[in-house]
Subunit: 246 residues, 3 copies
């Protein structure tokens, strides 16, 4: 299961049934849970003085696709899935079933809940706090410096079930409320209230999410999205959603 070209530190702790792809490097301070797959050309546990001595802990059932880089000093719950070429820096604490799209970058020092899904190429700045069941689409940036460059960091908060569409910049200290929707290409300068749609540059409140209808012919309400979108979530979660939202 460990490719003969992979370079695996004998200090790394690999669970049972862990597979490591060709040309990948596993450094010292790494613990990888059972039944995980690390693709080719990855670098896992990249050493940094900013997290010296801290292990990288990856829960069981992970799938880390090729060319990804994880620094030492973060903790991921079970069933992590990544695209290719993600970059994950130190001191990230993430829940279970996190999905990170190709080319995403976590700049470190952030907290992420359960079942968060990110598509490609977003940047999660330091001090970000992301809740559960959040969706982040491509080229989103969660910033943290109110007057760059400075030594002062003010993170973004994204609450449960919020959806941030493509190419959105969220300014430092902003809270994106639960079940809200931030439209594509928005610049978010002020807090977004729960269940609201905001859009524009700067983003303004447009309507309630409940006003948006599915375009699939059903004309059903599109939000809260757990009403209709269940792909890949566990049966008990979907059961609860159906009771809560329908």
């Amino acid at each position: 299961m460990i490719h003969q070209t992979a370079i695996v530190s004998d200090k790394a702790k690999l669970g049972s049934n862990v597979s490591i792809g060709a040309f990948s490097i596993i450094h010292d301070d790494v613990e990888i849970g059972d039944d995980s797959v690390i693709g080719s050309n990855c670098e896992i546990g990249y050493p940094t003085k900013l997290a010296e001595g801290l292990p990288l802990i990856i829960g069981k059932g992970a799938l880390i696709r090729s060319h990804s880089i994880f620094y030492q000093g973060s903790i991921f719950g079970e069933n992590l899935v990544t695209g290719h070429r993600v970059t994950i820096r130190e001191r990230v604490v993430a829940g279970k079933a996190l999905q990170i799209g190709t080319l995403c970058e976590f700049q470190g020092d952030c907290e992420i809940g359960d079942y968060v899904r990110m598509q490609s190429s977003s940047i999660i700045g330091k001090c970000s706090k992301i809740g559960n069941f959040v969706w982040i689409f491509p080229y989103v940036v969660l910033t943290n410096d109110p007057h760059p460059p400075s030594n002062y960091q003010l993170g973004v908060t994204v609450e449960d079930y919020a959806v941030i569409a493509t190419n959105v910049v969220v300014l430092p200290g902003v809270t994106i409320g639960e079940h809200s929707l931030v439209a594509a290409q928005s610049l978010v300068k002020v807090d977004v209230r729960p269940h609201k749609v905001v859009g524009g540059s700067p983003a303004k409140e447009i309507c309630n999410t409940s006003a948006i209808r599915l375009k699939d012919g059903s004309n059903d309400k599109a939000y809260p999205w757990p009403r209709h979108f269940h792909r890949g979530y566990p049966a008990d979660v979907v059961k609860e959603w159906l009771e809560t939202y329908s």
Copy 2:
């Protein structure tokens, strides 16, 4: 021509005079045409259940630069050229002489014509249809979900000779008309008419493309761009352009 560190499946079908760079991986379901060059650290024919059994077919004369990843299940015409670190997922059908810039991502299930040229870091969503001689500049996103997240996909159509400038988001279902120009940083919510310039967030019609003059001192019309821009296109194409557009 195959570097000694490359890992090449003996089920892969390589044409004559194919070169494979160091630390590259060629999987089973791959056919690469004659006179092609695959750079170092590439992964070609990445297996996916979404295209099981479908081959990746790369036409002759391809140049795939280093660190690129192609999934199984796509077809590319001859003379494909890519930058570094492109990610191409399953079921892409592309014509000849496609140029894909560094870090571009094709999310799969899309159709692309002949002589399309893309600069760096754009994302082509599923269900996109791109015509011939289209230009796409950096950080463009062709989206497909009208109410994310959902199971409903509505692709973007880009017609022949259209030009999409830097950092543009095109919303689901929009058609970008032939010979049109979408200005930088636009959010395109409605169809763009042929030969029109649109810009802004949301994008509005600004003028006809014929109103734009070259700034090189000639004061000639800048559009249709085949009037003056011929670099790298074959002689018969350029001959036809000179007859049609001048």
Copy 3:
């Protein structure tokens, strides 16, 4: 110091105490200064006909992180630091202590001063001229073609101490004045005057930078930023700043 899996041309000139990571490739026309570290999976001195015979010269004390690609034909001063997966094309001339974030791309033919710092994922177009002590945040694009596609290139100029925030597009030929601040998500179409804040799409002048106060509780002026931000700069530079700006 040279990993046994690295492929190093015997024509490359490596200084003393240079370290080369696993699976990295060093091509012929490369000179790397003393005490430099090249991470794993890098490709240094990538050959291009556009710079045939021109060496890549990297000054002493460089730290190039893993998966980065440098073409032949550029010159970097001492103490270069890069993130992961940077792409640097031919004929870049850069001063000392340049910091290039993860996934940045230099498209070649540009000039960069001393102590420039870039965060992730920005694109520096050909013909760009960047001064000293400039800051560039993620997803910035310095463009160069006033009517794409064309053969005419008009570069962007960024003067000393200017700050360009996240997701900004600067149009061809624009000058960003010294000590100015371009707010996030701006589209910059006209020159930015020194010491001014601009923002919006298109960007408009908002105020003087001196009007912005630190949000760290001190209420001190946030700009010129060398008043308060000194991390990683040499002591003599900081001493001069304290005399000039406080």
